[in-house]
């Protein structure tokens, strides 16, 4: 599902509410048809936000190991090794994140969000800072995750290689749904209108 909308339309807030980082001022948050903490606790969530949500003073490997251990991932060392390979950072695994480019940091951020194999993935403008090669890699990753049965909610600005992966587009305006469609020309218009 792709969220589009102008700056301040509520895309980031919606994703942070879905991640249970922000308490909603109204309405109900439901996961798999279950509202409240029971529903939320039963679903594993992964979030990629504007900020990278990783420590600059730790290496890529140390960051991922830290979060893998907190999330009680089985065999964290092997899992982290495989993820680093997947995001193309094996060679730089021991380098401190503060020495990374924005694109490389984003790769670490995506690897962190995938550590516990979340059923629901929340991506807030995930292509930010990625070069064209990085965007292609991200689109491939999202396609693979979508095809493996994960629910993906992402906020985007305008049409892109990544937005074409969406199966439903919602345009937000001042915190409300202004348009909602699944396929066809309207899908594209929602994304382009938001960018206008």
């Amino acid at each position: 599902m792709v969220f589009a909308g102008r700056n301040g339309s509520g895309k980031t807030t919606l994703l942070r509410v879905a991640a249970r980082l922000v308490r909603p001022s109204g309405g109900t948050l439901s996961f798999s048809g279950e509202a409240g903490s029971e529903g939320a606790d039963s679903v594993r969530l992964g979030l990629v936000a504007h900020a990278t949500m990783v420590y600059d003073e730790l290496s890529a490997e140390e960051n991922l190991l830290l979060f893998a251990r907190l999330q009680r991932t089985s065999q964290p060392e092997n899992h982290v090794k495989a993820l680093l390979q997947e995001v193309g950072l094996t060679d730089r695994r021991a380098s401190l994140v503060r020495t990374f480019s924005r694109g490389m940091r984003q790769r670490v951020a995506i690897a962190r969000a995938l550590l516990h194999e979340p059923a629901v993935l929340l991506l807030d403008e995930p292509a930010t800072g990625l070069d064209p090669h990085g965007v292609t890699w991200l689109a491939e990753t999202i396609r693979r995750l979508r095809d493996s049965g994960r629910t993906i909610l992402m906020s985007l600005h305008g049409e892109s290689e990544i937005s074409s992966l969406g199966t439903r587009a919602i345009r937000l305006d001042a915190g409300s749904i202004a348009a909602d469609t699944r396929t066809g020309a309207t899908f594209r218009s929602i994304l382009t209108f938001a960018d206008a």
Binding site: L47, Y55, D56, E62, L70
Partner: protein, 224 residues
Amino acid sequence: MTLLSNTGVLLGKELRTEFRSRELLTTTFVFILIVIVLFSFTFDPTSDESRRFAPGLIWLAFLFASSLMLQPCFLREQHNDTLSALRLSVSDPFAIFLAKLTANTLFLLLTELLLLPFFATMYNVPVLGVLHWLLLVFFLASLGISIAGTALSAISAQARMRELLLPLLMLPLLTPILVASTEVTKALFDRAPFVQWKGVGFLAVFDLVFLTALWLFGEYLLEE
């Protein structure tokens, strides 16, 4: 069990990042050393005067230095929004507080122990005979400062005037610790040293009350 395991992992992260940069330890050590040296310049105390004034002086220096040390505690987590990543990763947010306050207590204790020889030499205070009791006071007071300071650091990190807010909130709240630890230390520096159990008990109760409050309400301090 998960709480302790998560606390251990997070404590490891706190220690690793600090010992890698040594920012907090170095700053705090130098700050307290400067205060001790400056005070020794302003008056030339006799042995009796030192026994009376030095305990208050050193605890004031520790308290001011702790407000410096605790400032980045949660500010660091805001830099890349790592606090959100931690909140998403731990089942019990108390683990975040427990790891931070344990790390802060260790950093404060380490600084206090490193500075004790300088303090004893400059102010001519005999500490060797009462070292084990001093360590108990250092531990209880540092734990209290860290518990309250870590909680207040979480509050102030979200405020606009965050650099000013922490000392403004922390110093009045920690006055009871300052008074109790000064009284206990003064009794230990006496010509006939004794343990002021009333003060020691007060420090222990303070730690227990604030730790319980943090356990019960800490989760709300981390909300956006």
